[in-house]
Symmetry: C2
Subunit: 302 residues, 2 copies
């Protein structure tokens, strides 16, 4: 039994969630929501993205959000940064941590970033070097770790090679993304068995999407491999750019329910998290995928 | 690694699903849907309930449904039967298998059946005896195995005692119900470890609800304990009488996606099952909880 006694949940709803929603949320509502999250006991929030606003207009107010929120001591406020120009804005906005990203699949990387993996790495290295010099922590995202919507199978060797490169440039933690939610728990354990021969548990985080409903099963499979860090999104916010209308990231509230039921500590208050989920659902104006949120709103939260 | 190579899915949507939906489905639509399910490769369908129609008006057409469907060879058509009067109707309707039910929690049993557990057992024994004499198979449901909405903790000794009684009266398989969806995977493994000391894998089935999102994680935990039979509902149909608006049974389509991804055989065609799910969602007139169904309807079913 290698299941951990405590887990760190990294809330990615304000970035990965909102970036994939059709509705644009007002800046003041984003700020109010992030402040609610900070007060729920979440210790790590990815609050926005400094990609070019032309790509993701929903997050064009990145600097305003970052400067507008209350900074709760002990909470790390992170943001996605694609390149040196993005880093400049991120530093202006006084972000605690910079998250860089690329894909383990060549085709997905090219469609997403318009560059090959080899062309992407030096750009990330430049961001990482400058961010480290500015005293920031660096997180790395690797997409399509468990499969690619264009290529299908993704070789774990590619994930190893990229993770090596990210760690080498000063990234503290690499988040392994099941971008389209296609992973299954057996595969998760098989891939982690390989990766954990080379990397330590605290160098890796798991980033599951719930597109096909296997998200929490994949979390449980990861817990059994000793993993302790999971990305999740309040209410299950977000979606899949390849399947509009589909579910997004695994829901923070559902993840909490399972972990707390198992006796695993998170430090997060489930009730406060559900209030924050109800708040953002009302702003989005559609029923979010979280099961706990719907049970809570129906007036019965056991 | 005790995970099985093949799994039997028992479709309970036409009974456990529809019984908890607000909308009443026309008899001919139920028949059309069950016929679609039969053709998808599902080998066991709980098609209706012969409880008093005053209790569950949505299933008052039980006899018409049972006599109206195409009986596909190799498919077992099962129905819920509460007592001798229900059995009479079930025999008229030529059901293959009779499902009897009670709760592992005294309070839940009294609220649900209006009798104590001790008072319920002789009634089930009478149904089982007559059904066996009529050449029918018998299935047993035990509710609130992992916790009760009234009592909280449920002793596994109570589950053992009831399972003993059910097997003794000729029940071939006991389905262990997480009635309100509160189980977690660690608890599932702990409870199964106790039960499997006394009962064989083929005497037990798992019946999870997805009220709080842990349904498929609980399935994965059960697979690791060698369990091979799972109840599920097309589209995740149904709900929780204690939390209106909450999710129902685990979704057959999401379960299939995970099992097939893991290389576990079910004999069910995922595409046909999704067509059946889309059909019943259109009749119900609300978005069902299944993640696969929403991804499928958004035009992208990887």
């Amino acid at each position: 039994m290698k299941e951990p006694a405590a887990v760190v949940i990294k809330e990615v709803g304000p970035r990965d969630g909102l970036q994939n929603e059709q509705v644009t949320i007002a800046t003041e509502d984003k700020i109010a929501w992030i402040n609610q999250l900070s007060k729920s006991g979440v210790t790590h929030i990815e609050i926005t993205s400094f990609v070019n606003p032309r790509w993701i207009p929903a997050l064009a107010d990145a600097v305003e959000v970052a400067l507008g929120i209350d900074r709760v001591p002990g909470v790390t406020y992170s943001a996605l940064v694609p390149n040196a120009r993005g880093l400049e804005r991120a530093l202006t906005a006084n972000i605690d941590e910079v998250a860089v990203f690329l894909s383990a699949s060549e085709t997905h990387n090219r469609k997403n970033i318009n560059k090959t993996i080899e062309e992407t790495l030096p750009i990330l290295r430049e961001v990482a070097t400058e961010a480290l010099a500015a005293g920031k922590k660096i997180r790395g995202y690797v997409s399509t770790v468990f499969g690619c919507p264009y290529e299908g199978h993704v070789a774990t060797e590619s994930v190893i090679r990229i993770t090596d490169a990210l760690l080498e440039m000063g990234v503290g933690e690499v988040s392994l993304g099941d971008t389209t939610g296609i992973a299954n728990p057996r595969q998760v354990q098989d891939v982690l068995a390989i990766l954990l021969e080379r990397f330590s548990h605290d160098q890796l985080a798991m980033h599951f999407h719930d597109t096909y409903g296997s998200g929490l099963a994949n979390v449980y499979a990861s817990l059994q491999m000793g993993m302790t860090t999971f990305d999740a999104s309040t209410g299950g916010l977000g979606g899949c750019p390849y399947a509009p209308g589909a579910a997004g990231n695994i829901s923070t509230d559902d993840l909490l329910y399972m972990l707390h039921g198992m006796g695993i500590h998170t430090g997060i208050d489930h009730g406060r998290l559900l209030e924050a989920a109800a708040f953002i659902q009302a702003k989005i104006g559609r029923q979010l995928p979280s099961r706990n949120l719907q049970a809570y709103l129906s007036g019965n939260n056991s």
